[in-house]
């Protein structure tokens, strides 16, 4: 059964379909929360909030703009970043996080293995300082100012590193899509 229909079942209050929806996405949602927060109890709370938010805001999901899993992942990540800020969670080391992200293809990854492999290769190819800035900004949700403070670098340098990393990855993905 498609993700869209399971989401519809969740919204309609159907117990079996709601259960199927949660089972399909729970490992992905919990994984996102856990990697940002590093604390299983906090991560479970955030993961539960993510499903609740999806249930409440299902009407805002637009299938033309992306998959259910991508939408739910974004909801979870935003909640986890907010929770990390509010509760001052102990952050995962950026290099450790980068290693996790560039490791083996996760079973529940939304991206096909080949495509994810290209992205991982592009991340590994980034200069170390750009990779750190990217991880801090894209996964931990740190602003450029916070990246600057965390890394002990000027604000302008932090902005440049984030921008350069994002543009390199965008270019790598574009190149991959253009390839026959």
């Amino acid at each position: 059964m498609s993700d869209d229909l399971l989401l519809a079942g969740l919204t309609a209050g159907d117990a079996e379909l709601s259960l199927a929806f949660v089972r399909r996405f729970q490992a992905r949602v919990f994984g996102v929360a856990l990697i940002v927060l590093g604390d299983p109890a906090l991560a479970e709370d955030v993961a539960q909030q993510a499903f609740e938010r999806a249930w409440r805001h299902a009407a805002l999901f637009d299938p033309r703009r992306g998959a259910v899993g991508t939408w739910l992942t974004a909801i979870t990540h935003n909640l986890a970043v907010d929770a990390a800020r509010a509760r001052r969670a102990i952050p995962v080391d950026p290099l450790e996080l980068q290693d996790v992200l560039t490791g083996e293809t996760p079973e529940h990854s939304a991206i096909a293995a080949e495509s994810a492999g290209e992205l991982r290769a592009a991340i590994r190819a980034l200069p170390v300082e750009q990779g750190r800035a990217l991880v801090l900004a894209a996964f931990r949700g740190l602003t450029a100012r916070e990246v600057a403070e965390s890394e002990g670098i000027p604000l302008g340098t932090a902005k440049t590193r984030i921008r350069a990393a994002m543009l390199r990855l965008a270019a790598a993905l574009e190149e991959q899509e253009d390839r026959p």
Partner: protein
Amino acid sequence: MTASDSAGCERFRELAPEIALGLVAGHERAAALAHLQDCPACSRHVAALGAVHDRLRALIPAAEPPVGFEQRVLDRLGVSRRRPVATARWLRAAAAAAVVLAAFGGGWAAGSAGRPPAVASPLVDGAQHVGDIIVSRERPNFLSVYLDVPRPGRLTCELLRTDGSVAATETYDATGGTGWWGISRPAGDVATIRVSDAGGALVATGGLPRP
């Protein structure tokens, strides 16, 4: 593009990666969004960077939550263990409603725990179930209509009062397959909906759901 537009784009592009990552707030974000509304090129640029962020997040490894997680989620939502009647219809109706309400910028965002946020009633062609009418509890005066379109062409959707007079009309140019549109329900004793084709032949009819 004028020189000032170009300068605006240059300033914006400096900030675009942080916008795409959701790291910009306040006045800076408001100014950036205003620029995006008027600049399709910058809008595409941010969308491409946003897609990078989505793909980065998809790299995060899955992790099994603690035992009992799924039941705790369902309890939190107040989802009944009982399967509702006519699930297939509900499912199709809710899927259609989600699309319709999203397309119309609908406000089906809030619902009370344990209570479906919308109700539906069937559209029939004789004895055949051919579609659904959905109304969100949060927007009781807006009907989302879903229909298995028999053939492409213009459809006329009429809301009828109990005396048979027409209270509201909406037309929809169907391309075949699944058709869906929205129509406002006027105040008064509107009770049924009638959908007819360009030649005036009846395509479907049904009673309106009561939120």
